[in-house]
Symmetry: C2
Subunit: 198 residues, 2 copies
């Protein structure tokens, strides 16, 4: 399959790229590296990426930022940023992919465990993650030409915890990556694919 | 208790007003009626309402619009409207209420069944409803002074189905209203209060 991977150089994206490349032709897009540059918060940048790449069998998005900060500190701009980037960035990936993905192909987005397991500082991220899950459940009923859509909900990632010098258990990014492969290669649609801690 | 009810003249809000008024002092605010006018999509309008009303024991929001339309028809503006009105309108109610609600008081927002039970045309609404649920789970951990927050998830409302001449089973608005009373008077926080069909 020809798979467009957006966010191919992030902690998770790098492992998704490796896992998919074993069996598929991966077209890597990222914010700051490689041939295909894209800013998911900018719909025109996304549209240009899809025009450049043309038809694909699957689109995977492992990109998207939202603001982690105490509720009392989150500003209007923090909410606007979070909604515009991780949420609408990925919603727009799905809306554009609906035009470019081949019949029976798939779209895979990324939410995260804070949608269901809240923690202090996570109100905006939890909101955005839950929104993506609600969107995917709905969009799955309406995508044309048998196109599937799922959202992977990663737990904390081991490599991220290490980088942030945070305590706590995480899943290795390579384990998380398997959920994306499952979404691309499987039959599921409208699902939140949860990645359990090992 | 002194309860600020935003959206007091809607199908659900009217019944919430009746149910609360039996035991509480209800300050009614709505878009187009009465003493207190407010547009929840306009943060300054909300801030003016809270300044005018002052301290309350509970805030209930039964207001908020999001766009119901097929995924392929939803425009950028439809998404922007839905996020700005039903989602950020209510998130801003909660952020402002955190300053004006008395110690141990409560905030109650409104999502809806499309968060979990999708239907064609409901991708934007389901997204917004799920987002509110994610936000409430997170915000509950961080609100100051023992303030609680919940979100009521109404099913289709009988009166709405009738008004839209739609088929299907709904709950009477008066039944839905009981969930708001439970949120205001009970001990729960961080919960999605689902209203089952009768």
């Amino acid at each position: 399959m020809k798979v467009l991977l957006i966010g191919s150089t992030g902690t998770i994206g790098k492992e998704v790229a490796k896992a998919l490349a074993a069996r598929h032709d991966v077209i890597a897009a990222s914010r700051n590296h490689g041939l295909h540059r894209v800013d998911i918060a900018d719909k025109e940048s996304l549209a240009a990426l899809f025009r450049a790449v043309g038809q694909v069998d699957a689109v995977v998005c492992a990109a998207g930022s939202a603001k982690f900060a105490p509720l009392g500190v989150l500003t209007d701009d923090d909410f606007r940023f979070s909604l515009g980037n991780k949420l609408m960035g990925q919603v727009n990936v799905a809306r554009l992919a609906a035009e470019y993905v081949a019949d029976g192909g798939s779209i895979t987005l990324t939410s995260g465990v804070l949608a269901r397991e809240p923690m202090p500082g996570g109100a905006a991220i939890g909101m955005v993650n839950a929104a993506l899950e609600g969107f995917v459940r709905g969009a799955a009923l309406e995508l044309p030409r048998g196109i599937r859509i799922n959202v992977v909900s990663p737990p904390w990632v081991e490599e991220t915890l290490r980088a942030l010098e945070m305590e706590g258990r995480g899943a290795p990014a390579a384990t998380v990556a398997r959920a994306y492969v499952e979404s691309v290669e499987g039959k599921r649609t409208g699902q939140v694919i949860e990645v359990p801690l090992p």
